[in-house]
Symmetry: C2
Subunit: 204 residues, 2 copies
């Protein structure tokens, strides 16, 4: 065990410590109220210290951004066992929506907030692309069973993703309240929105 090794390990531990604090504040108070000073106070270090482990605030949130995708991908893991492609696609939509409902802030960070995506480097969305590729693969599977004939996989994946994202984004940003006059709560709205969309997918 060389000194360099320990140092490296300690560096990693510190990053984890910062990330844990950031996550806990982020999940409790949301993105806007998670400041460097807040995080520093939580781990009992000075604000400046954080910049010895992360280049900027965005880097912290990009780490959480990736964690969000890991969580989502984990939640999708069981879908591998759904043999029939279209059944898998439908289940995927369900899981996606459930993830958004249960992890509002993570979803926000992953698909709505601009911050951790600012940089030009497409590297930033590696995890997102992985998830998107998973969707495309499932669609390809569907095509093999004769579904979605004549439809382009890229465009169709975007259509499906958009439909799901639309509901989740309206939900996350409080626009579902538009239906409160009709006494329809956001959960019922999303449940039925999903059903209707699946219904459309079946007939395309």
């Amino acid at each position: 065990m060389t000194v360099a090794n320990r140092k490296q390990r300690e560096k990693q531990e510190m990053r984890t410590l910062i990330l844990d604090a950031a996550r806990s504040i982020f999940l409790e108070k949301g993105y806007d109220l998670t400041s460097i000073r807040n995080i520093a106070e939580k781990i009992e270090y000075s604000p400046g210290t954080i910049y010895l482990y992360f280049k900027e605030k965005d880097e912290i949130f990009h780490a959480l951004h990736e964690e969000g995708f890991r969580r989502m991908i984990m939640k999708m893991e069981p879908l591998q066992h759904v043999a029939e492609p279209f059944e898998r696609l439908k289940a995927m939509g369900r899981v996606y929506m459930e993830f958004a409902k249960e992890n509002k802030d993570f979803y926000d960070l992953m698909f709505i907030i601009q911050a951790p995506m600012n940089m030009e480097e497409h590297e930033k969305w590696k995890m997102g692309n992985q998830a998107l590729n998973f969707l495309k693969e499932v669609i390809k599977g569907c095509k093999k069973t004769g579904r979605f004939k004549g439809k382009d996989v890229n465009y169709l994946s975007f259509t499906i993703w958009s439909a799901m994202h639309g509901m989740c984004a309206l939900f996350c940003r409080g626009r579902c309240h538009a239906y409160e006059e009709e006494n329809i709560d956001p959960m019922t709205l999303m449940e039925n929105g999903y059903k209707y969309f699946i219904n459309m997918l079946e007939k395309i």
Copy 2:
């Protein structure tokens, strides 16, 4: 012309002055870079003055929020002349999407940004509800021609709105870049996403 009248008019003129400055900065630099001090500097008043005409920053952006809806509704005006309900619905989707593409920042403010929607009062979304009701009316028209049989107007309106919003929101927040690896630009993506969705609507 009483003095009180003139004073009231001057008050209104000042509000307009502030709003004009706010809009110009907002459309040029976006929401985050539009600060009270920026606005104040533009109209050559002190920052404190603005608070004599608007209770808080949100009130300014709520005014712009409403303006956005007025613009969108104006853009939808010609649709009244499209007689066939389903044709009108399709055209509506087109206009909605075009509005988002041409007025990225307004769209963001209207449907994504949380800020001007914070307050509990549903009053805040009067304009939004008006637009949503217009959509529902068009759907009702479609139902009268035998379309969307057995489908609930509220749920279906949400499904359609979500699908359109999903594409626009992914566009506004730079998530369309996910398809750059496949050499598909955001515009092509949205164009085809729209086509595919309409195709689904036709078959539901």
